[in-house]
């Protein structure tokens, strides 16, 4: 019940493409859904996050779509660039333990020039 399932495991797109990464959860106690970007040798860094009362959130080229009834959420990267090549993790936080995140397995994104 605590799992967050993430797909695909890896993704290759051409520059300018729109990669989409999907996540699903089961625990309805989760109330905060961050996405992290991780470059090799670095710690995960927050990219964008959403609460379940919002169906979509956009920050720059990154958009989260959230479907509360389906318990699914996804990350879209518009106009992807080679510099976006990284591993992306979705996560879910239960309340009140906001810092205890359950992470998805990660998606390795490669954006080809």
């Amino acid at each position: 019940q605590q799992q967050v399932k993430q797909s695909p495991q890896s993704l290759i797109v051409q520059k300018g493409g729109i990669p989409i990464i999907n996540c699903a959860y089961e625990n309805t106690a989760f109330d905060y859904f961050p996405w992290y970007q991780q470059f090799p040798g670095k710690g995960p860094a927050l990219l964008i996050a959403i609460r379940p009362d919002v169906s979509e959130k956009k920050e720059g080229r990154f958009t989260i779509s959230f479907n509360k009834s389906a318990k699914q959420f996804s990350l879209h990267i518009m106009d992807s660039q080679p510099g976006d090549s990284a591993t992306y993790f979705c996560a879910a936080n239960p309340d009140p333990h906001a810092g205890k995140s359950t992470f998805g397995d990660g998606t390795t994104l490669t954006v080809k020039p």
Partner: protein, 112 residues
């Protein structure tokens, strides 16, 4: 530049030895966390530390692990008797209230 500094960046130790991983948060936050990432795998929660006490720990965080904030600043993770399977990246993170985690760059622990 991360708001959490971790030392060392890489630690090599022999099986059965004790290791101490250190974390220095720049801001004076109350919530601290240790996470682990085995090479190529997901990031896993180990323990949360609030107001100088463990508030929650995972099944991974067994008796071989301990955390301390000995001087009110540094936050340490100790593994008493390392095993080969403890080889991983260990990330310290801090959070304030219901805010996202800020991770350090991690310590790569290699147990031989």
């Amino acid at each position: 530049e991360p708001e959490v500094t971790q030392t060392p960046s890489h630690q090599v130790t022999q099986m059965g030895q004790e290791v101490i991983l250190r974390c220095v948060p720049i801001s004076n936050h109350l919530y601290f966390y240790w996470y682990r990432q085995i090479l190529g795998q997901k990031v896993e929660f180990l323990v949360s530390f609030y107001n100088n006490e463990i508030s929650e720990k995972s099944e991974i965080f067994d008796d071989q692990f301990s955390v301390e904030r000995p001087d009110g600043s540094n936050f340490t993770l100790k593994i008493r008797s390392t095993k080969l399977e403890d080889s991983a990246m260990y990330f310290c993170a801090r959070a304030q209230g219901n805010s996202p985690l800020h991770f350090g760059n991690g310590t790569r622990l290699t147990v031989t």
